[in-house]
Amino acid sequence: MDTSFAPEDLAFRDEVRAFFAEAYDAELQGRLASKDPKVFKQAVIDWQKRLHEKGWVAPNWPVEYGGTGWDATKQFIFESERAAAGVRDVVPFGLKMVGPVIYHFGNQQQKERFLPAILASDEWWCQGYSEPGSGSDLASLKTKAVRDGDDYVVTGAKIWTTYAQHADWIFCLVRTSSEGKKQEGISFLLIDMKSPGIKVNPIVSIDNHHSLNEVEFNDVRVPVANLIGEQDKGWTYAKALLAHERTTIAGVADSKRHLAMIRDYAASEVNGGKALLADPLFQTRMSDIEIELMALEFTELRVLASVAVGGAPGAESSMLKIKGTEVQQALQALEMEVAAYFQGVLPNELTPEQLGHGFGSKARQSFMYGRAATIYGGSNEVQKNIIAKAVLGL
């Protein structure tokens, strides 16, 4: 048992740190903070292209497909340094979600067609899983794909589709059969967002932003060549992806940075002549969260280590998802308490100078949108069902 870093790991850490310091520059950060969706989108693409040029855009991909081939330690270091430097994570839909599905289950033609564009961020992906009637019970999905010659004809609707307004492609779970168990008639399709019959309806969320959408499919023709793997076997591929999504959902590194920020913030807030951070009750609120996070960091490491020696991330990833999102939400709630009255200030209403307070609207936005974390990626209730069944054997 040893969690210390070898000298080459330390050298790697320094290299990563230096890269972020240089490449994630102020000009880029300015554009990433832009309220203009077009400027924001281009900034994200530019950043991911810089990572790609460095060869680091896909830490979790195998070398043969353009990944880094890093071991668990290096991936951990990279992720920790990224979060500590306040560098935004890549948009997950292409690089973390559909990419791995394509290189695991796609055919040669699909790998050649899609993987390079994902790595180069030339094509933006979104995820078509949830439907208005299918949330936690994902397998009950009804969006239909009917075979017609060399095409499928897709009809139905997907919902909560993040960044559909930016996307070139959507990967979808569709129903190709209603025979047998509901999981057995589902297929995994890649659909061009420019296809006739697709309509994107924006959804404004409780943080007053537009990132979510409903995507309608009205007789959308999709070439059969865009089917991943076998027809009716899509659930298997999706499950592999969901488990993958859940290991990254813990967000330990980002939570550590958030905790450090809140700590500084609370040190600068004064109540009754005393720094908020010096207040014993506040300290207890904060340490309750930090202790949980310290444990979670090692829980995540234990899961990563077991994956590294061939264990698939299974039900353990459900625990990472539950605990990780609980910590995220607890931190967001704590930051709101630090912001006090300023938590209510909406973005775009005042400049930070007018407000005289930098944190209010940022805290509010992350708190409000943060409510989604215990709902998406399989709600935490569903994750508990998985643990009860798969781990406890209930």
Binding site: D137, I206, N271, A333, Y341, G344, R371, I375
Partner: protein, 379 residues
């Protein structure tokens, strides 16, 4: 011993409830929130006609002569409608301060105007640095010939943008955080040297940061005694926290009801999700949290109307519970509504945002817990 409302209180409750139900549905509320003033002056006139603006004021000034129970009854129902019109700012805060500390001339002049709906008021107490400490006041009122000169800035002033009259806390002597040496002043919002920057908060209300630059005030602008404003504010804030708690209780009741209803109709895995025991027990918890908060609210209100010495302890306890129970209730409401709970279109998130602003107004749960601890356990 009984917990019944009087006949008059039942009528009052039903009158507010009926208005919310018939004239303040969520679409109407959304439209009002999006309007320039984020409130409806037509509604305000209706409130005046229905007598709601007269509730806490003495009969000799044309008021209803109500007590904490009457205010509670109104606030609970206003909470259910997420009513944006500035009842809390004008009647509870501004009117409440005048009622407690106003001179005979001030009462005679302003109370009939408030009751008639002609005067909107605001209480400007918060400063950038002050958080929850009412005594942390940098704004100064300097003695000058025949009056005072007001300089400083107040922030997040509820109804500060629409108010005709402000009551402003200012330092007349002592150091920045001294309880002594604070005085309250009536300031017309259009007085020379008053500059307002207005903006909206997440709960839909419009507030203002207000800068006072050499605002000249006559000697009779003083509300209450010179240098004794802190005591006045403290007494008012106790009342105000009870009124906010009543609003929160109304919101919690509604969120719980909406959530139970939703889980009865939303089907997943072939059944209504409300049939899952894991969710049922959580809804039982939110139900009990609401009932317990309501009990503490009644306890605080009874202690206030009896002028019981436990009132202060009960009010601190109440604000702690409003914080904890409120977060549980809105957190579960959003979670059980799933993705729908995340949308701006649904009302659930809007109730959550109002509960959050209630929590932070005049001290969050932790702040009141420390006050409670000091009262109960200090050696």
């Amino acid at each position: 011993m009984n917990f019944d409302f009087t006949e008059e209180q039942v009528m009052l409750r039903d009158s507010v409830a009926r208005f919310v139900q018939d004239d303040y549905d969520f679409d109407t509320r959304r439209r009002i929130a999006g309007s320039d003033e984020a409130m409806s002056r037509d509604n305000w006139r209706i409130f005046a006609e229905l007598g709601w603006l007269s509730i806490p004021f003495a009969e000799e000034h044309g008021g209803f002569g109500g007590n904490a129970v009457d205010t509670m009854v109104v606030m609970e129902q206003l909470g259910k409608g997420l009513v944006l019109e500035p009842y809390f700012a004008t009647v509870v805060l501004f009117g409440g301060l005048l009622q407690r500390g106003g001179s005979a001339a001030q009462l005679e002049h302003y109370l009939p105007q408030i009751i008639g709906g002609e005067c909107l008021g605001a209480f400007a107490y918060l400063e950038r640095q002050s958080r929850y400490e009412l005594a942390d006041v940098k704004t100064t009122a300097t003695r000058m010939d025949g009056g005072y000169r007001l300089d400083g800035e107040k922030v997040v002033v509820f109804n500060g943008a629409s108010a005709d009259q402000l009551i402003v806390s200012a330092r007349t002597s002592g150091a920045q955080s001294d309880e002594g040496g604070i005085s309250l002043f009536l300031v017309p919002a259009d007085a020379p040297g008053v500059e307002r920057l207005d903006y909206r908060l997440m709960d839909g209300q419009r507030v203002a940061n207000i800068v006072f630059s050499g605002v000249e005030l006559a000697a009779d602008a003083l509300v209450g005694e010179l240098d004794k404003g802190y005591e006045l504010m403290q007494a008012l804030v106790l009342e105000a926290n009870v009124a906010l708690a009543a609003e929160a209780v109304g919101i919690m009741e509604l969120l719980n009801a909406k959530t139970v209803e939703y889980t009865k109709t939303r089907k997943q895995f072939g059944v209504a999700i409300g049939s899952f025991q894991a969710l049922q027990h959580r809804m039982v918890d939110t139900f009990m949290a609401y009932e317990q908060t309501k009990s503490l609210l009644y306890r605080a209100v009874c202690a206030m109307t009896d002028d019981n010495e436990d009132a202060v302890t009960a009010i601190h306890a109440l604000k702690v519970m409003v914080d904890r129970a409120g977060k549980l209730v809105f957190g579960e409401a959003i979670q059980m509504h799933g993705g729908m709970g995340l949308t701006d279109e649904l009302d659930i998130g809007h109730y959550a945002k109002r509960l959050m602003m209630i929590n932070t107004t005049f001290g969050n749960g932790d702040y009141h817990q420390e006050k409670f601890n000091a009262l109960r356990y200090q050696q």
